[in-house]
C-alpha cells in the first residue's frame, strides 16, 4: 500500500513536471497527462480486483489525479498538433464542440466521484465505473486505434 501511495505522489510530480515544457511540447504534455490518468486508473483497478485492499486516501488520490487531468488535458491540443508521433484523431479539431463536450463529461464525472467521498469499496466501485466509462467513449471517438 505504501508503495502505491508513493507511486501516486510521484505521479503528481510527473503532472507538475509536464507543465515545464507544456507550451513548447503539447504532445509530450498531453501524453504525460494521459499516462498519469492511466496509472491512477491502474491503482483504482487494483483495488477493485482486490490486488490491494481498499484505502480511502488512495481512492481520493485516484479521483484527484483524474480530476486534474480532466481539467487540463484539453488545453494541449493546439491547432497543428495533430502531426507527429500522436494517436490524436483529426476529429478533435474537426469536431471541436464534440471533443469539448466529452471533456466536460469527464470533468463532471470526476467532480461527482470526488464529492462521493468513497469510504468503502462499493461506493468507490460505482464512482470509478462512472469515471472510467469516459475512457472508451472518448478514445473510440477521438483517438486513432492503431
Amino acid at each position: 500500500m505504501r508503495r502505491l501511495i508513493v507511486g501516486l505522489a510521484a505521479l503528481s510530480v510527473v503532472v507538475a513536471a509536464a507543465g515545464a515544457s507544456a507550451v513548447e511540447d503539447p504532445l509530450f504534455t498531453r501524453k504525460s497527462l494521459m499516462d498519469a490518468n492511466g496509472a491512477a486508473a491502474g491503482a483504482g483497478g487494483a483495488m477493485l480486483k482486490g490486488a490491494v485492499p481498499f484505502n480511502a486516501d488512495v481512492a481520493k488520490s485516484v479521483f484527484m489525479t483524474m480530476h486534474a487531468v480532466a481539467y487540463s488535458y484539453g488545453d494541449y491540443f493546439p491547432a497543428g498538433s495533430d502531426k507527429g508521433d500522436t494517436k490524436a484523431s483529426p476529429k478533435i479539431w474537426e469536431d471541436a464542440a464534440g471533443f469539448a463536450a466529452a471533456l466536460a463529461k469527464f470533468q463532471q464525472d470526476t467532480d461527482a466521484a470526488i464529492a462521493a467521498k468513497a469510504q468503502d469499496l462499493d461506493t468507490f466501485k460505482a464512482a470509478f465505473g462512472q469515471v472510467a466509462s469516459n475512457c472508451k467513449a472518448c478514445h473510440d471517438a477521438y483517438k486513432l486505434p492503431n
Binding site: D35, N37, G38, A39, A41, G42, G45, K83, G84, D85, T86, A132, C135, K136, H139, D140, K143, L144, P145, N146
Partner: protein, 309 residues
Amino acid sequence: MLRRLAAIAVAVLVVAAGLAWLLTAPSPLSASALPEHSPDLANGQLVFYAGGCTSCHAAPGAKGEEKLKLAGGVELKTDFGTFRVPNISPDRETGIGGWSTLDFANALLRGVSPEGEHLYPAFPYASYARMRVEDVIDLKAFMDTLPPVSNRVAAHDLRFPFSIRRGVGVWKRLYLSTAPVVALADAGDSVRRGQYLVEGPGHCGECHTSRDMLGGMKTSLWLAGAPNPEGRGRIPNITPQGLTWSEDEIVESFKTGFTPSFDTLGGSMGEVQENLAHLPDADLQAIAAYLKAVPPLPDAVPKAKPAGS
C-alpha cells in the same frame, strides 16, 4: 503438318481448360458429413460471440440488441474491389432464413454458397474451416433465434479478374486447410482449446497476420501483425514477442476492454472485445494460454516513423 500442330494446340487448350475447370470446382460437403447432433443453443451463442459475426454483419456502431440484427449492407473497400456484407439474419427472402443446416455448414466450412458457388474469402471461412461441425450446427440453431431483418444487399463490385468467382477455387487450393496453423507439441487442454478458438471461430489471424499478394495469410508470420486494412497504422503483433502482457492481463483486457496501462482496446478490436466479454473465463484463459504458446516472432510490419518528423 501445320494442321496437325493446330489440332494438337487445340487439344492441349481443351485439356488445360478442362483441368482448370476441375481444379477450381467448389467442393461442398455431402449431407452425410453432418453428424447426428441435437443443437445446443447455449453453445451456439458462445460460438456466435467467439466468431464475432456481429462485427461485420450488424450495423456499424450498433449497441445492445441492435447487434443481433445481422442485416448486412456494410461496404468493405479492398484492393480487389468492394465487398458488400450480406444479410445473414434469418429473414427468408433477403437473409439466410431459407438455408438448411447443410447450406450453412458449407458456407462456413467450405466457402460454398447454397447455389454451389464459391464465396469470397472476405468471409473468413479460411479460419472457420477449422471449426467443429457440431459447433457450426449449434451456431446455426442460435442464429435462427435472432430477429429476421428484411434488407436486400447488392452484389459485390470487384475488379477483373477477381470478379470471376470460379477463380476463388484456385485461392482455396492454395489457402484453405482444416489443419492447425501451428504445431503445438505437448500442449495441454487449455492451450488446445485456445488454439481452436483463435485459429477457428475467432479468426484472429485474419487481421493479425500479414497477407500475400493473393490475399492469403502468410502463416509463417502467424499473428506477427499486419498493415491496418482500414487505413493508418498497423494491427499489432500478438505473438509472445509482440504482446508482452501476462496471461492474466490478456484475459483482463478481453473482459474489460482496458489494456494493462489502462488504455482502451480501440478500433476493430473494441468490437472484438465486446464479443469476447461474452465468453466464459476458461475460454478467455485458453486464448491467452495459446497466445503465449505460439512461436514468438518480430513485428511483421515495423513501427512507422511518425508523420511530419
